[in-house]
Symmetry: C2
Subunit: 413 residues, 2 copies
């Protein structure tokens, strides 16, 4: 019978017919699971390991991640500052829920898509940190608000504020807004001082907006190398906003919130005595970029938080002595910085990410040999856009895969 | 009654309660649709336009796209060469089906995820152009084969070939393989000449593999600037593979397929008289990178195919005379090249993509003023990784949105 099957297969390559026969047997292996099968196996407690995963994939080391959560929560408690961590880093409701459980007062998000996805997952206390301009986004915001009524949005322009006010009025809603104050980056925001004071007074007259405070995020402070230089940069960015905030409160405006700060300035900004909350995001994962900025205690290597996020790849070709080729290229890594990913546990090698689906490992003096089929893990260059490339992350503890978390609110709806 | 509602809203910001009341009215507008609403409206023939879309989003100009499809189909017919276009550029079953309808013999894909997604959509004649190494991918391949039994995979290493053979034997399947021949890139592949001949002879002895021919893709030829230089580069890359292919056929091996070629060499490679099929991908969209390489008839600007793919963005901040800020940043554009996107219809301005969710437009001498809320369209820098950032593309004809197509097989399962 085996011979006859082989004859069929050889003659016509009629695999569809072969597949339909009841004698077809798939290899007995625990590998090669689809995502839904992995989810089912995780529910069964079926003992999946990293080697069961199809690469390239995004891997979250849960132990490192949980240590990062706890450290930031404790820091904010000690520093008497609220934490509304930024969800644009993770786009993951499972992480948002854990941040809130650890003490965060809500979640910052960057887009209406992130806000909708997080609202659908039951996340409250959201601040949308980019201006939602244009009717399509404003209508989506108003449709979302019943699920997350305490959501706040930012404004830096009077015509936009008027459009928000009119739309909220038509919907018979009151919309929580923060003034987006420019920390000097000239990206978005109103200049601090007189322009912000004049803008605030106009917003106070818009009946369907409720002005709650300021959003002032200095992205350019976050990655200044050297702790002292970073503190100085953040002071230059934030102190004018804090002064304006205090002036408006003295003028009688009921401002409660001054939100800003990054993973790079989490232990700097509370010292300014004026910001009410931090919106750090990257601390949950860390990346090559943050490692390079240097910390307060370790000037060479910013190790306040642990590196919890990696991309796992497989060596797929090894036909040259000086190099190996992996299955993780441009589509698997953020490529917006001049530097690429770092090896998690290989030294004496360099990685080049120049092909869409391939990575080149240059083996100068590698700490171990690489064979076809070997797995490699990489610390991501820049965590936010790297996460944005994936639809889920696999949560591991040691070799075990213990969970899989969705990444939502990408460029979908 | 209006007053009492306002009082409620002001006092407790209890929007959840407000939302639950029957008097809640959303603005009467056709904008702000979610994706599922857009799909429903398209079915109703409800006349959606570009301005209904939430930005940033990926837009496909259907007229330009269809012209590209027809031009490549006609070219391959005239040149008497098969077309198995590369699906890694679009990851879109709707496009794959249209390519096949226009005469393509199947679809090239880069990953097991793309292959599975295309098989689920009924696409046949697939060639997976990257080595599927490791048990998880091989098992997924074998599970997929009944749906797409004529799928071919590539091999460049004996131990990998043996693993494929053994897995196929255990599954009682016969697996179609092509030798991945190195065009000189040293990325993947066996060197042409003696190494490939020896490898082919060993593959012929593996009973569960069926050697169908060669895959030889010279990615580095695709973007050589200048038609003559590109022809010379592609000749250097492909002629040794063609010679080896002919030698093996003379030796009696039943080889049928020599697959390679790119959008940059579509009108070069057929002239080598030896390749049996082209696997061009980018021609359906085009991008800034391809525009720069120069064509046969137009040395300055490669305009053999039309630019059909854009990212649409919205101006969200305009507080400085010299610049505008949009909602499309690093997460909306491929950033793997040194150059960024090009404006579709704005001159006298430059775009900087350095923030995750923001783009900066430097207004040197702009051909039109930009206001908050204005839309801008950008030709993408590099189409394959740019498409990979999105979950769907909106198909337009002029101002009308006429369809929405899914992008599948990303880093999901």
């Amino acid at each position: 019978m085996k011979t006859s099957r082989r004859t069929i297969l050889k003659s016509g390559l009629n695999l569809a017919a072969a597949a339909a026969t009841p004698t077809l047997i798939f290899p007995k292996t625990r590998m090669g699971y689809s995502h839904s099968e992995i989810e089912a196996h995780l529910k069964d407690g079926n003992g999946l390991t990293r080697s069961d995963l199809v690469t390239p994939c995004l891997v979250l080391d849960l132990d490192a991640f949980e240590a990062n959560l706890s450290k930031m929560a404790a820091h904010c408690k000690t520093s008497k500052i609220n934490l509304r961590p930024h969800g644009k880093s993770h786009k993951c409701p499972e992480i948002a829920a854990r941040q809130i459980k650890a003490g965060a007062i809500g979640l910052s998000v960057a887009t209406i898509r992130e806000a909708e996805a997080m609202a659908a997952a039951g996340i409250k206390g959201m601040l949308i940190t980019s201006e939602l301009v244009g009717r399509p986004k404003i209508v989506r915001l108003l449709k979302m608000l019943p699920k997350a009524p305490d959501t706040m949005v930012v404004v830096d322009n009077l015509s936009h504020a008027q459009e928000l006010n009119d739309a909220a009025a038509a919907a018979r809603l009151k919309l929580n807004v923060l003034i987006d104050v420019d920390p000097g980056s000239r990206r978005t925001g109103v200049a601090s001082g007189a322009p912000t004071i004049a803008f605030a007074e106009k917003l106070m007259k818009m009946p369907s907006l409720k002005l709650r405070g300021f959003h002032c995020y200095s992205g350019s402070s976050a990655h200044i190398t050297g702790f002292d230089a970073r503190r100085q940069h953040s002071a230059n960015a934030m102190l004018p906003a804090i002064e304006t905030f205090n002036q408006l409160k003295k003028n009688g405006l009921p401002l409660e919130i001054l939100s800003g700060g990054s993973t790079g300035t989490y232990n700097i900004d509370p010292g300014f005595n004026g910001m009410t909350e931090l919106q750090c995001g990257s601390y949950v994962f860390m990346d090559v970029e943050y490692q390079m900025i240097g910390g307060q205690s370790n000037e060479k290597f910013y190790d306040d938080f642990a590196s919890s996020l990696t991309v796992m790849a497989t060596v797929i070709s090894r036909n040259h002595a000086d190099r190996a080729t992996t299955d993780a290229g441009i589509k698997s890594f953020a490529t917006d910085r001049k530097f690429g990913p770092n090896f998690k546990d290989l030294t004496g090698a360099r990685v080049m990410i120049t092909s869409d689906e391939h990575g080149t490992i240059l083996l100068d003096n590698p700490s171990r040999d690489l064979k076809v089929g070997d797995r490699l893990e990489f610390i991501v260059p820049h965590c936010d856009p790297n996460v944005n490339l994936y639809d889920r992350m696999y949560c591991v503890s040691g070799e075990k895969v213990v969970d899989t978390w969705r990444i939502v609110g990408r460029h979908g709806d």
